[in-house]
């Protein structure tokens, strides 16, 4: 169900964004857009399928706390 909603949403986004670029033959823009679109679509599918996507914020937290030793202590 979640996957279907994600696919419908992305179809809607493409339907809004792509025709303008195709109509005015902006192929470079379309290429850039397509790469971003595919990356976000893959992310969306992973989230919809409940695949555990690692949060960059947690990696940053570990980097600042354990490597740079820049972290406040909780009282």
């Amino acid at each position: 169900m979640n996957l279907l909603l994600v696919l419908i949403a992305f179809a809607g986004i493409a339907a809004i964004d792509v025709p303008g670029m195709v109509k005015s033959k902006r192929w470079h823009d379309l290429t850039v857009y397509s790469i971003l679109f595919l990356l976000v679509l893959v992310l969306g599918i992973l989230v919809a399928l409940d695949v555990k996507v690692p949060s960059p914020i947690k990696a940053i937290q570990a980097f600042y706390r354990d490597i740079l030793h820049l972290s406040f202590k909780i009282s």
Partner: protein, 390 residues
């Protein structure tokens, strides 16, 4: 998309800065958990620490008038290193947008509509942000004057109505905590709500006149620190020891408001104002991300503007025009949507991040990178002074 020829006034920018920060101020729990009944004073110490940071932003914007942060990086560090640094800024803006969106989702799911899935609340909220951006960021900034009046009016009204519940002795004992607690809270106030005004360096090219960004930024910050002190003091004298236990002190203290049996349950008004302020904040962060991404992908550098030249104001805004560049607002909002869903697994993780690491992470982008940029620009003698000589 109607994002062309956008201009904003200094006054509107100042009010936008106030509204941008006030949304976070209304969730003051992260400061109160550290400095408890002395937290109100941190609004002023945080402002003092913010002054040199604003001076750095003002220095960069004065050297490169009419340029956004991404364009400035390109000029200072060159096309390759400049893009790497710009990508870091974009990651920061996207992360802030995702974290604030998640906070909004948590607020709605816990306090307002407990049976609504958080993803649904976030999706509707981000659709609102997309609608706002497609109508033009200028309109949102224009609205900030009205939003300022509403939120400042609501703050004053709440403070007056809650007066009969106030117990001033809750402010005592004054300043008895260990000094490092005050340092921690000051750094947190500087980095988390105040330093996030870095996003406005993507909007300042929309100001009609060059080199006038510092004044509105500063005015917005002063107004915010006064409102922050009022909010924190109201919460402390109303809730007493409870203030460091509840998750949203402002929300809980407004619950005390009761005028006869007529004016009660004002926390719903607080909820509506908080959502509107979040909409403004996330829209500005999303705009900063989309504009930066568009400028990075376009790779074209606009010439430095001459002082007093008005036409440049529309330049940065025009680069979001879908007739010239790929339309990135919807796909960026989708990215923020999914990012906000997996950024934290629980509210405890979110609180832990905010209390321990977020200030250092934020200061890297809000202070360290801009300071290095300004230093390199000065050493390489880049910017307006050199252009005038040439």
């Amino acid at each position: 998309m109607t994002l062309e020829k956008e201009n904003i006034s200094s006054k509107e920018l100042a009010f936008a800065v106030f509204c941008f920060i006030h949304g976070t101020v209304l969730r003051s729990g992260f400061i109160i958990s550290v400095t408890r009944n002395d937290s109100w004073a941190m609004a002023f110490t945080g402002l003092l620490f913010m002054l040199p940071i604003v001076a750095i932003y003002a220095g960069l914007l004065r050297k490169f008038p009419g340029k956004s942060l991404v364009e400035i990086d390109d000029i200072i560090f060159g096309p390759i290193l400049g893009k790497v640094i710009s990508a870091l800024y974009l990651f920061f803006f996207a992360s802030l947008a995702a974290l604030n969106t998640r906070d909004l989702g948590n607020f709605v799911a816990v306090h307002m509509m407990p049976e609504t899935p958080i993803a649904a609340a976030i999706a509707v909220f981000l659709l609102g942000c997309v609608y706002t951006l497609r109508k033009g960021i200028e309109n949102l900034i224009n609205l900030s004057t009205l939003l300022f009046i509403i939120s400042a009016g609501a703050l004053a009204l709440n403070a007056i109505l809650v007066l009969k519940e106030v117990q001033p002795e809750f402010l005592k004992p004054l300043f008895r905590l260990e000094p490092q607690k005050y340092v921690q809270a000051t750094v947190s106030v500087t980095a988390v709500p105040m330093g996030e005004v870095l996003a406005f360096t993507m909007l300042t090219p929309m100001l009609g006149k060059n080199g006038k960004a510092a004044k509105p930024l500063l005015l917005g910050l002063v107004l915010s620190s006064v409102s922050m002190a009022i909010v924190l003091m109201r919460d402390i004298v109303t809730l007493g020891p409870l203030v460091s236990i509840v998750s949203l002190p402002a929300f809980e203290s407004i619950r005390y408001v009761s005028l006869g049996d007529i004016l009660t349950r004002l926390e719903s008004v607080y909820g509506v104002i908080l959502i509107i302020l979040f909409l403004l904040k996330v829209s500005i962060l999303l705009y900063a991300f989309v504009l930066g991404l568009t400028q990075m992908l376009s790779g074209k550098r606009r010439p430095l503007s001459n002082p007093g030249h008005e036409g440049q104001a529309s330049g940065t805004a025009q680069s979001l025009n879908s007739k010239n560049h790929p339309p990135l607002i919807l796909i960026s909002a989708a990215l923020v949507f999914f990012y906000s869903l997996f950024v934290f697994e629980s509210m405890m993780e979110n609180k832990n991040w905010g209390a321990t690491t977020a200030p250092f992470f934020s200061l890297t982008f809000e202070f360290l990178l801009p300071a290095v940029s300004l230093l390199v620009a000065c050493l390489r003698k880049l910017g307006r002074a050199r252009e005038v000589k040439a």
